[in-house]
Each structure stands twice: as structure tokens, then as C-alpha cells.
Symmetry: C2
Subunit: 87 residues, 2 copies
């Protein structure tokens, strides 16, 4: 995909603005930003002493963990699917 | 799972220590931390002017985006699987 097809969107997360460049639609980028902002709020609610960097790193850790778990489920399902296709 | 079965691990990400509490094994938590650290390095390499908060937030955004894309693929595969099961 060429640069001209990329979207450049400014989102606000915890009172700072971020310019995000991606192939995703502006709506998708805004949704992702809103989910990250929400997760940071949730962690902050549970532990108010954390600064923004800590909140963002813990959000990234949580999301990465969710990603890896989902990846395992996805791979298992894909394997099941391929087995069925062979039969 | 009771609290006594939870693991409490300290990991280091971009020169700061984070205490992570989770049901995952210490090895899993360390791997997740190392992946987040790597992602922050990659973003920093691409744009060296960012501070740690910006790096952490952009890492969280990237990871959340990856998660949502995988979730779409997973849901599509699950739907296909269910359709096949019915036939």
C-alpha cells in the first residue's frame, strides 16, 4: 500500500495528542485509541499512584497477553479446521 | 483462582521496573514483557524523538490494533467452523 493510501489521524489519549499513521480507516484508529484510553483508565482506577508511562506500559502488557492467548486459541481452531478439511 | 495461585513478577521495560500480577507462569509474563519492550524499541528506532510515555502509548495502540485484527480473523474462522459443523 502506498503512502497516499495511508490515513493520518490525531487521537487524544490521557490528555496528550498522538498522530497515528496506518492503513486502517479513521474510525478504526479512533476505536483503537478509545480502547487504549479506557484500559488506561481502568488500570488507573485500580491503582491511582501510577504515572502515564506506567499506565501505558501496563496497558501494552495486558493487551499483549490477551493477544498471545487469542493467538493460541486461533491456532488451535485453525488446526482443527484443517484436520476437518482433510477428512 | 485464589490469590495464592497468582504469580507476582517484576519485569524491566525501558529502564523501569514493573510488578505484574497474573495467573500466567513467570515465563509467560517475562515473554510478554520482552515483546512489549521489543515493540517499544522498534517504535523508538523508527522515530527517535519520542519520549517514553509516547513510546508506551504507541506500543499499546499497536498491540490493541493487532489484537482487534486477530479477533476479527478468529471470529470469521469460528463462524466458518460452526457452519461446517451444522452441515
Amino acid at each position: 500500500m502506498s503512502d497516499s493510501e495511508k490515513n493520518k489521524i490525531t487521537v487524544e489519549i490521557h490528555k496528550r495528542k498522538y498522530t497515528v499513521v496506518g492503513e486502517e480507516s479513521p474510525e478504526q484508529i479512533k476505536m483503537v485509541a478509545s480502547l487504549v484510553d479506557q484500559k488506561m483508565d481502568e488500570i488507573q482506577y485500580a491503582k491511582s499512584s501510577l504515572d502515564t508511562t506506567q499506565l501505558a506500559v501496563l496497558t501494552a502488557l495486558n493487551t499483549m497477553n490477551d493477544y498471545l492467548k487469542l493467538k493460541q486459541d486461533y491456532d488451535a481452531l485453525l488446526q482443527k479446521e484443517r484436520k476437518e478439511d482433510r477428512n
